[in-house]
């Protein structure tokens, strides 16, 4: 079998070591930013435990992947339009209340991801936090990984642990980092430098090739984010001029630019 030509990465997992760092809001607004840049984007809410993309986006009806797997609905019915112009596929907490992947579930999820990847320019997998089987499996379906962290020590530690696990168990050698809720300009660069330095010192020596962490963006702590959540609107639509919106747009631009290379 001949190797297929290296395709441009389509599927990006968005994950975080720790919960509550704004991963879902980052996923949704990055998706909306990519739509503005002309891409067709689908966000798969793979946070099987505490799926909340539907809440953030005020989605209704809530047809889920679980309904597709049980045969109650078709995949086309489950792909929902979201504000911001992207599409959403909700995994639905009904699917894995068990927080465990059966071989059958793995296979079906893989099929669905492959199917939507062929229909869209980009697929974002909004995974759960942590390093459970479900999260690691979902991340393994992606071409690239974005780790979201805040400058808070527990978030940095958990992000570091996640990167380490992905490097050692999935042979990831390049990962992206987005630092959310920063308090001062340039804080993300500090977090990134520190993480890269510790990875170089403790993780890379046991790998066959160096582990590169690429800083995708820095999103400042911004009251606008909370306001959009309270209004149950997408930040980029509700408050496009906000600092956080501009930062997320810049991150989307950077993502697209790096893909063109």
């Amino acid at each position: 079998m001949t190797e297929a030509p290296a395709r441009r990465p389509r599927i990006m997992a968005v994950t975080s070591g720790k919960g509550g760092v704004g991963k879902t809001i980052v996923s949704a607004n990055l998706a909306a930013g990519l739509v503005r840049l002309g891409e067709r984007v689908l966000v798969l809410d793979a946070d099987l435990g505490l799926a909340n993309l539907d809440v953030v986006l005020n989605l209704f009806p809530k047809i889920t992947l679980h309904d597709v797997f049980t045969g109650a609905r078709t995949l086309d019915e489950a792909i929902l339009p979201a504000p911001g112009g992207f599409s959403v596929l909700l995994a639905g907490s009904g699917m894995v209340e068990y927080s465990r992947m059966t071989p059958e579930l793995r296979e079906r999820l893989q099929e669905v991801v492959a199917e939507v990847a062929s229909r869209f320019d980009r697929v974002l997998l909004d995974t759960g936090a942590g390093i459970s089987d479900v999260v690691l499996y979902t991340v393994s379906l992606a071409d690239e990984v974005l780790v979201v962290a805040t400058p808070e020590p527990t978030s940095i530690t958990d992000a570091y642990a996640t990167i380490k696990v992905l490097a050692t168990t999935q042979a990831r050698r390049g990962l992206r980092l987005l630092v959310n809720q920063t308090r001062r300009a340039g804080e993300a660069r500090g977090v990134h430098a520190q993480l890269q330095q510790v990875l170089d010192r403790f993780v890379t020596p046991s790998l066959d090739a160096p582990l590169q962490l690429d800083l995708l963006g820095e999103v400042p702590a911004d009251a606008a984010v909370r306001e959009a959540v309270q209004r149950r609107e997408l930040l980029l639509e509700a408050l496009p001029g906000a600092q956080a919106s501009q930062a997320l747009l810049a991150a989307a631009q950077r993502l697209q630019d790096s893909r063109e290379r």
């Binding site: 070591g17 720790k18 509550g20 435990g49 505490l50 936090a129 530690t157 570091y160 380490k164 993480l195």
Partner: protein, 244 residues
Amino acid sequence: MPQPQAPSPSDATSLQLDQALQLVLQSGRTIPEGEPGSTPWLQGLIDALVDLSSRDALTGLANRRSFELALAREADRVARSGEPALLLMLDIDHFKRVNDNHGHAAGDEVLRSVATALADSVRPMDLVARVGGEEFAIILPNCPAAFGAAVAERVRRSVERTPVMAGPGGSAIEVTISVGGAFAPQWVRSTPALWIERADQQLYHAKATGRNRVQLEASVASLVSTEEREALFETPHGMEEHDD
């Protein structure tokens, strides 16, 4: 169909409460204060019965029923708050030998002694339960991953250091326990049954690798060594301190 009438306080005198009162008395609890049949008196009796039905008769620890209730509540809380919580499953090593060699009365004494040692080595907010014959469980809410191993080890050592004077002629019986533990999956809705299963797996490992040991499931935090943690937070050169 006629609607059943809500019982008025005066109806309480017609209730058959002898057996309930007898159970409460026999358990060493006091008969509720107040006028028999009055609402406060009935409430006192119900409270005593609730307490009675949530405890293990032999050791006075929480029984399996109240353990399951507390675990479900904790799993739900952790899923929402992301606070770390640890579940320990503990099992007395070679307990059958105690029963076989020293009789069941000595066995009961060992169970009571272990129960006391467990209860004395954790915080008041932790729930210690007897969940089976020689099986115990401890739920530790708000237990940071970095402390989990230390707490479990303290529990193990506390039992090891407490010989039970129930051997022939009041001689000491050496008792040890094996401990398995797992943290609740944070930010993920899971089931209490799965949490128990994960802790039980670790207990199985502890038993299989020699007993009188602690074995905890690896967590995110346990993947980061103290050295790495220090390196992550040391102030790098050229980075100014900032005020919050």
